[in-house]
C-alpha cells in the first residue's frame, strides 16, 4: 500500500473549476470526448472494456459493473433500461450529492456510454427528492446535453438514440434498495420486490434493467477515455480503480477525498489534517451507518472490498464517519437505530417490528434503566433480524448495534452503573472546542 500516498482526482477533478457544472466548462476540460470513443466501438466492446477495468459497483455492494451489464439478455424483445441510483440516503454517505452538484455532465456522459453499452434507449436518473438543488443541476445538465446533441436522436451522428428522465424520489431511504427504487419509479410505494426475477431479467416495467450507482456510472467515461488498463492500474488486486472517500465527523478537514481503493484511514486522516485538535479516534464507520463500526485498531486496514471485509465490516459507500473519544457510542448507535426505525418500509416483520423494539431497548439503556441482560437481548434481537429480513435494510440496522457491543460492551454497562449517559453530549459537538475558551475567558 505504500505507493498510495497521493490523491487521484478523476471524478472530482473538475470540482474546483469555475462554474464546473456547466456544459461549457465540462466540454472545455475534455468532456463528452469519451462518448465519441464509445460510439466508435461496438456495444459489447464497451461492456468488455468496463469488465476489463475491474470496476466494481460503488453503491456499496461492489458487484462487478461490467458483469452486471452482461447479464442483460440481448435477445429479450423488450426495451432495455438503465437506471441510475442517485437516492443517496445512507447516514454518513455524501459522495454522489457533491458529484452531481459539481459535475452533473460527468454523470450524463456516463449514462450515455453505459446505455449505449447495454443497448438501452431510455435511461432514468432517480435522485433523492430532498436534494432539490442537485435535482435542478442534473435536470439542467440533461437539458444542456439535449440541446448540444449529446442526448436525443442520432447522438453525435452515430445513429444511436437515448432519452434520459430525471426522477425525484419522495423521501424514503428504502428506495435506495434497487427493487424498491424500481417500484417508486413505476409510481408505486417504495417497497422491495421479491427476487427472482432479478432486474436484469425483469426490472423496470418488467423489462431488462441495469441499476448502477452514480459513482459507478460517472467512472465509465474515464475508463473508456483513458483505457481499462489505466483504471485497473490503480487500487488493489480485486478492488481496482479509485473512489471518493467521504470523511465526516471529528477530523480537521472533513470532505471528499478521491483516492485509489486500498488507501487506509490513517492515510486519509493525515490528508484531512488529523483528528480534531486534542482528541483521538474512538470509532468509525467504513461505509456508512449500515457497516459495522471499526476502531483505532483498524486504522491500517486497506479500504478495499476485501480488506474491510477481513476486518469484519464492509467497504460500503466509503462514508467514513469519524468519532473521537468524546462521543458516546450508545448515543450514536441509538440515533442510527432511530433512523432505521423511521425508514423501515414495513413490508417484513423482522425489520419493521425489530427496529421498533431495538430503539426502545437502546433508549432504556441510554437512560441507564436497563440491565446487563439487555445487551444479550439486543444481540439476540439483532440475530433474529440479520439475514431474516426481506432486504438488506434490516441487516444494516443491526450492524452498528452488534459491532458496538462487540467493541464497547463496557461503555454500555457504564450507562447502567452511571444511571444514565456518562458522557457530556456537548463535548462531542463542533462548538465544544470554541465554547471552552469562551467560558474560560469569562
Amino acid at each position: 500500500m505504500s505507493e498510495i500516498s497521493t490523491l487521484t482526482p478523476v471524478l472530482t477533478d473538475d470540482w474546483d473549476a469555475e462554474r464546473s457544472w456547466t456544459l461549457e466548462t465540462y466540454e472545455a476540460r475534455g468532456g463528452y470526448r469519451a462518448l465519441d470513443v464509445a460510439l466508435g466501438m461496438e456495444p459489447p466492446a464497451v461492456v468488455e472494456a468496463v469488465k476489463a477495468s475491474g470496476l466494481r459497483g460503488r453503491g456499496g455492494a461492489g458487484f462487478p459493473t461490467g458483469m452486471k451489464w452482461s447479464f442483460i439478455p440481448q435477445d429479450n424483445p423488450k426495451p432495455k433500461y438503465l437506471v441510475v441510483n442517485a437516492d443517496e440516503s445512507e447516514p454518513g454517505t455524501c459522495k454522489d450529492t457533491p458529484l452531481m452538484m459539481a459535475s452533473p455532465h460527468l454523470l450524463v456522459e456516463g449514462v450515455i456510454i453505459s446505455s449505449y453499452a447495454i443497448r438501452a434507449h431510455h435511461a432514468f436518473i432517480y435522485i433523492r427528492g430532498e436534494i432539490l438543488h442537485v435535482v435542478r443541476r442534473v435536470q439542467k445538465a440533461v437539458q444542456e446535453a439535449y440541446l448540444a446533441g449529446h442526448l436525443g436522436k442520432d447522438i453525435h451522428g452515430s445513429g444511436y438514440d437515448l432519452d434520459v428522465v430525471v426522477h425525484t424520489g419522495a423521501g424514503a431511504y428504502i428506495c435506495g434498495e434497487e427493487t424498491a427504487l424500481l417500484e417508486g419509479l413505476e409510481g408505486r410505494r417504495g417497497q422491495p420486490r421479491l427476487r427472482p426475477p432479478f432486474p436484469a431479467v425483469a426490472g423496470l416495467y418488467a423489462s431488462p434493467t441495469v441499476i448502477n450507482n452514480v459513482e459507478s456510472i460517472a467512472s465509465v467515461p474515464s475508463i473508456i477515455g483513458r483505457g481499462a488498463d489505466w483504471f485497473a492500474s490503480m487500487g488493489t488486486e480485486k478492488s481496482q480503480g479509485f473512489g471518493i472517500f467521504s470523511l465526516s465527523g471529528h477530523v480537521r478537514r472533513p470532505g471528499q477525498y478521491e483516492a485509489p481503493l486500498g488507501i487506509t484511514l490513517r492515510q486519509l486522516i493525515d490528508l484531512a489534517g488529523g483528528i480534531r485538535e486534542g482528541h483521538e479516534l474512538k470509532f468509525w464507520t467504513p461505509g456508512g451507518s449500515s457497516t459495522p463500526i471499526l476502531t483505532a485498531e483498524h486504522l491500517d486496514v486497506p479500504l478495499d472490498f476485501e480488506g474491510v471485509a477481513g476486518a469484519g465490516s464492509m467497504l460500503g459507500t466509503r462514508a467514513l464517519q469519524v468519532f473521537d473519544e468524546t462521543t458516546c457510542v450508545l448515543r450514536a448507535v441509538l440515533r442510527w437505530t432511530e433512523f432505521y426505525k423511521h425508514e423501515s418500509c414495513g413490508k417484513c416483520t423482522p425489520c419493521r417490528e425489530g427496529t421498533w423494539w431495538l430503539v426502545q431497548t437502546l433508549a432504556r439503556l441510554e437512560a441507564g434503566q436497563g440491565s446487563p441482560e439487555d445487551l444479550d437481548l439486543l444481540l439476540d434481537q439483532c440475530d433474529n433480524i440479520l439475514g431474516r429480513s426481506f432486504c438488506a435494510l434490516g441487516d444494516g440496522a443491526t450492524s452498528p448495534i452488534s459491532s458496538s457491543i462487540q467493541h464497547f460492551r463496557d461503555e454500555y454497562l457504564a450507562h447502567l452503573e452511571h444511571g444514565g449517559c456518562p458522557f457530556d453530549p456537548a463535548a462531542s459537538t463542533l462548538f465544544a472546542d470554541a465554547a471552552v475558551p469562551a467560558t474560560t475567558g469569562a
Binding site: 425508514e343 423501515s344 418500509c345 414495513g346 413490508k347 417484513c348 423482522p350 419493521r352 436497563g370 439476540d380
Partner: protein, 807 residues
Amino acid sequence: MTTTPEKAQHDQRTDLVTVTIDGVQTSVPKGTLVIRAAEQVGIQIPRFCDHPLLEPVGACRQCLVEVPDAGNGRGMPKPQASCTLPVAEGMVVSTQATSPVADKAQQGVMEFLLVNHPLDCPVCDKGGECPLQNQAMSNGRGESRFSGSGGVKRTYPKPINISANVLLDRERCVLCARCTRFSEQIAGDPFIALVERGALQQVGIYEKEPLQSYFSGNTIQICPVGALTSAEYRFRSRPFDLVSTPAVGEHDACGAAIRVDHRRGKVMRRLAGNDPEVNEEWITDKDRFGFAYTREQDRLTYPQVRDEDGSLRPASWPEAFAVAARGLERARAAGGVGVLPGGRLTAEDAFAYSSFARVALGTNDVDFRARPHSAEEADFLASTVVLGTPWDGGVSYADLETAPVVVLVGLEPEDEAGTIFLRLRKGVLHGTTRVVSVAPFATRGLEKLDGRLVPTAPGEEAAALAALVEQGEFGVDKHAVVLLGERLATSPGAFSAAAALAARTGARLAWVPRRAGDRGAVETGCLPGLLPGGRPVVDPAARVDAAAAWGVPTLPEAVGRDADAIVAAAAAGDLAGLVVGGVDPDDTADPAAFRAALAAASFVVALELRETDVTRAADVVLPVAPVCDKPGTFITWEGRPRPFAAVFADPRSLPDTRALAGIAEELGRPLGFRTPEQARTAMEQMGPWDGARPAAPQVPAAAPSPGEGLVLASWKQMLDDASLLDGDTYLAATARPPVARVAPSAHAALGDAVTLTGDRGTLTLPVVPTVGLMEGVVWVPARSAGGGVLADLASPGTRVTVRGAEL
C-alpha cells in the same frame, strides 16, 4: 390454517423434482414452493402471509427454513422464506422440526410479530381460531421479552370501518397483505392498500371510497389475525361455542360451498367452504352475509287456512293438508290447477312439485320460471341444457380458466354469478382466457375481466351472435365457451342463435340462471313440456317411462301452460286453482297480471317462508322450511349436484316435499315419498332419459323495432331489494346505489337525474354517464328502486321515455 389440497396430483406429471425435507424425500412438480412441498410430507411450517391462492409475497418471514443444500451442493447462507422458494432437484430443507437455526428464526419472527400485537385475545373474534394465537403457542415463547423489558406498543383507535361490512382493527394487523392481495388479485377491487411505513404501516382506504366489493367478506376470513372483523358478527360468539355444518350457497346458481356456524339453533355466521372444483375458497358477500331473512318478523311459523269470515286462521298441518286437498280437487274440477314452484327450490323439492303436478293434479301446467320467459327458452332448456354435466362434456368451472375464449351473452357474472366471475378473472389473469361480452356496455365487471365488448342493444343478441361466428378475430371455435344468461328469454331468437353458433363452430354452451333452484327445476321437470330427467312430454315413450317410475297408469299427454299462460288462464277463469311456491309477484313478467290471477283464482295454496302478497291472497298457507332447516341438493349452472344436510331441525315448518306429499295423500294420489331423502331416492330411481331429445329451437331473430324513447336494458344487481337479503343492514349498505346509465351525449342533454316512463309507471334516478354505452339505450337495475322495473316501469322488451328531472 390454509393448506392446498393438491388437486393436480393425479395429473400425469413428468417434470417432478425430488427434494428432501427434514430427512423425508418427496417428489413434487417443478415450481412447487417449499412450503407446499413440506405440506405434502406432512410438515407444517408456520406462516401468515402465505396463501395458496394468492401470489407469494414473502413479507411476514414466519416460514423461514434452513437450506443446507440448494440442490447445487451448496447451502444457502441465510434462512429462506419457504413460501417464496421453489424446489430444486436435490434440494435439502430443514424446517423447525430438525433445524435449530430455522426454529430460532421462526421463534424470533413470532416474537417480533407480537411486539405490536395487543393481548386482547379474550375479547377478539378470532381468539380460538386464530393462526397467530395458534402459532404463537406452537412456535413462540411463553413469556414476552418485549413487555418484560418495558416495551411500549403502538396503539390505534379501535376499529375503523373500511366498508359497512368490514371493520379494521389496526393494532391487531400483522401486515401480511393477504386482504390487499385478495382485493387486487382475486376480486379486482383494489380499494384497500397498505399505506404509511415501518411499524405504522397499515391497511388503508381512500377516505371517499370504502372497500367496494361483492367479495369483501373473504378478506375477513383469510385474515390470519383478528384485524378484519365482520360488522355483523363482531362480538357475537366465540369460535369454540360454534357448531359448523357444511352447506351450499342458496343465493345464486353457482353452488358455492359454505360453512354455516351456528350456536343454539341460530346461525351466527357463514364462511366460505373450500371446494377447489367450484368456488375454491371464495364466496360472495351475499352468500356470506345474506342469512338473516330466516329470522325476519314476518316468518311463517304455522299453517293457516282461510276461515269462513275471509281471514286466515291458524290450522294444524293435517287440517291444512285436508283443506288444501279439498280445494284443489274442486278447482281441478272447475278448470284445473296451475303450479308455480319458483326458482329457489332444492332439486328434491322441485321434484316434489313436478310429481305433484303430474301425479296429484294430473296436469303439465307447471313452470318454475318466476321471471320473464319464453317458449324458445323452454325448448332450448329441453334440447340443450337438461342432463348436461361437467362429466359428459358440459362446461365446468375449470373450463372457464382454460377456455381460450369465453363469450358472455345476456349475463353479468359479477352481479349474477359471483363464483363464475372470480373463475373467469383467474383465467384472464393467468393469460389463458379472453372474455367477450355481448352487452349494451362494458360494465365494471367486464373491465375487471379485461373483457372485450360487443355492443349490443337488448333484443339484438341473436344478430350479434350470428355476427360473432363470422368474425374470426373473436376466436369463437370449438374451444370456446358461451355462457347464456337467463334474460336472453326476453330476446327472441337469442337461444336459437346460440344453438346455431354451437352447431356451426363446436363451441360449448352453458345456461347460467340466477337462482339456486333454477337448474334443479329443469332437471326435475318443472316445465310444461318436460318431465323429470329430461323426458319430453310429447314423447310417448318418455311419458310411459315416467309414469312407470311414479307408479301411475298414464300422464297428461299435452304440453302444459307456461307460467305466463298459467297466470293468464287463472285471470281469465280458465284455471281455478294455483299452487304457488317461492314466487315474488314483482319478479314475474307481469306483476299486475300475477296479482290479478291470484285474486281471480278460486283456490290458492301458498308454500312460503315469509308473508307475501301470495300468502295474503292464499286460501291455504303452508310454512315451508328454509334451506338451513332441510336437506337437499342444488344443481349448479354446470349441472353439478351440490347436496347438503340440514343444519337445524325446526318443527315450525316442513320441507316443500313433505307439505306437497301431505296434500297428495289427502287427494288420494300419493307421491310415493314424503321426505327430501325419499324424494332424492325416487329421482335417482327415475333417472335420466336416454331416448331422443328434442331439436334445438329455431326462432328467427326479431327485427329491431324502431320506436319512441330508449331501449331499456336491465338486470338485477347482486345486492338489491331481494327478499332473501332482508335483515342484514350492513350488507345492504354495501349495495351499489341505483342509478340510470346513459351514453355521455344523452347525459349532456338530460342532466344529472332522469325520470323514466314506461307502460307500467315511472322511476326517477340519478344519472351516471357511461362511456361506451350504446346510444339509444338506458340501463337501470332491475330490483333496486321502487317495486322494480317490471312492476313500476315497463314490460319486457318495450321502450321507455327518458327526460331530465330534479332529484
